[in-house]
């Protein structure tokens, strides 16, 4: 995974590789606050994500939470492993617990997101 991980105030992360492919998930802080994740609703492949728009639902023992896409683009892959093992989001929120990948349509949106330090500050 790229080192360049950016965060939203609503606790999603996005990381972008050299080819402009973005991977999205929820932060470690978010999974801790949610508790054990039991169901995940992912977007359809080909869906068009809009920055800050609802794109997925993560449901835990505690609550159902809307996931807002950090960036805009076309969804090209979803994490199928989450259907059988939603707890990957708890055990590896920034790794195996990723939610979906998309092709960025407006890379400039990344500049408006929080870096690691700024995000850590809002979780403190």
């Amino acid at each position: 995974m790229s080192k360049q991980v950016k965060y939203t105030k609503s606790h999603e992360w996005v990381s972008v590789d050299e080819s402009g492919m973005a991977t999205v998930g929820i932060s470690d802080y978010a999974q801790g606050a949610l508790g054990d994740v039991v169901f995940v609703e992912l977007p359809a492949i080909g869906a068009i994500a809009k920055a800050t728009g609802e794109i997925a639902v993560v449901e835990s023992v505690k609550a159902a939470s809307d996931i807002y896409s950090p960036v805009s683009g076309e969804v090209i892959e979803v994490n199928a492993a989450l259907q059988g093992a939603p707890d990957l989001i708890n055990s590896s929120p920034l790794g195996e617990g990723w939610l979906y990948r998309l092709k960025l349509s407006n890379p400039a949106e990344l500049d408006g997101l929080l870096d690691e330090t700024a995000y850590a500050a809002i979780c403190a």
Binding site: G35, D36, F39, V61, K62, N90
Partner: protein
């Protein structure tokens, strides 16, 4: 400032995630609620429930008072060492609280809910008016609940030899005094286990020895999913002062006989019985959602007989799907719940989902 039990530091030592629970700083989990739930269903776990309220009743009129106070008949506790689950009602037949009554050698002991402590104590004093007895709260005691198929063995293994055998052979809803410890075969999980009421000074040592014996600490999150799988009510959610025990699956806690026992709320709940027979009293049922999603308290349901509401809902770690308790019109046979995706069908079952680690409904 939140109240803390004698085990507060132990919770932090075990990585407990502390939250406010009715004014107490309590562990919601120690990492994973689902893992803790499974630990209790498959092995053994310990809960700190010292926030619950212990009240001792001494004096010559204790039995007469308790037969007036609660719906179950405390005269059934014919010898010391027995316990029963019951509700206490107001004059309108609403549930003031649910509780367990224990008969000890020289007196009775009540354990009531933490969130209702102040109103319960006021109610006890009110009903006790004219009876010769004393009501003594015991905040200096800690309560550890140890549950799971291995729980009794684990606890007995830590006890002096003279205590171990009577504890191992103790039947369900039996109890005993061992020095200044009180040990009962009661609980809130649907598994075998014990509740130990001990002096605060003994709590941390007992906790450490339980953990060393392989008993895992379990938070209030798993306590809630375990009790809901077992179909056990949670006060303030599944029933309260506006709800008849007959509409809260508590009918088996009412002793109608003898007919001349005048417990508080008897006249009202007798009228509720007539409504129930006429099909006019709602009923607390179990719901199972076989598709994806989680049923939650407060969600509206629609049955073939009208509307109802979910009083407790969760994801069942044992069943791998969502379950709930809901208050619905009598004789409902079909039910839909309003979920995010619209009306979704759910199955109506008896509100008892899991016992001794196994699914119990068809």
């Amino acid at each position: 400032m939140s109240k803390r039990t004698p085990l507060y530091q132990k919770h932090l030592d075990s990585g407990g995630k502390m939250v406010d629970f009715a004014g107490w700083d309590m562990p919601i989990n120690y990492g994973s609620q689902v893992a803790e739930h499974k630990q209790v269903r498959e092995h053994a776990g310990v809960f700190d429930v010292s926030h619950m309220t212990v009240v001792d009743i001494h004096g010559g009129d204790s039995l007469a008072f308790l037969r007036r106070l609660v719906t179950n008949d405390v005269a059934k506790l014919d010898v010391p060492g027995r316990a029963l689950y019951t509700g206490m009602l107001n004059e309108q037949g609403g549930v003031v609280d649910d509780l367990i009554v224990y008969r000890l050698g020289t007196h009775y002991r009540l354990v009531v809910n933490c969130a209702t402590r102040a109103k319960d104590l006021a109610w006890l004093h009110k009903v006790a008016s004219g009876f010769a007895l004393t009501i003594t709260e015991r905040p200096e005691l800690a309560i550890l609940a140890v549950h799971g198929p291995e729980a009794i063995d684990r606890v007995a293994g830590l006890l002096p030899t003279a205590w171990a055998e009577p504890v191992r052979s103790m039947g369900n809803f039996r109890c005993g005094e061992f020095g200044d410890w009180f040990i009962a075969r009661t609980g809130y999980t649907g598994e075998k286990g014990l509740e130990l009421i001990v002096p605060a000074a003994d709590a941390a040592g007992l906790w450490d020895r339980l953990l060393a014996a392989g008993v895992a600490p379990i938070g209030l999150g798993a306590r809630d999913t375990l009790r809901l799988e077992a179909g056990m009510n949670l006060y303030g959610h599944d029933m309260d002062e506006t709800v008849s025990p007959l509409a809260a699956n508590m009918e088996q806690t009412i002793s109608w006989l003898p007919e001349d026992r005048d417990f508080v709320g008897r006249a009202a709940v007798t009228a509720h019985k007539q409504l129930q027979l006429a099909g006019q009293l709602p009923v607390l049922v179990g719901l199972v959602l076989e598709s994806r999603g989680v049923l939650r308290e407060g969600q509206r349901v629609v049955t073939d007989r009208g509307e109802g509401i979910i009083t407790s809902g969760t994801f069942s770690p044992t069943l791998g799907c969502s379950i709930a308790m809901a208050r619905v019109p009598a004789h409902s046979s079909r039910c839909d719940v309003e979920l995010r995706g619209g009306l979704t069908p759910v199955r109506i079952v008896k509100p008892n989902f899991v016992r001794f680690g196994k699914k119990v409904f068809e």
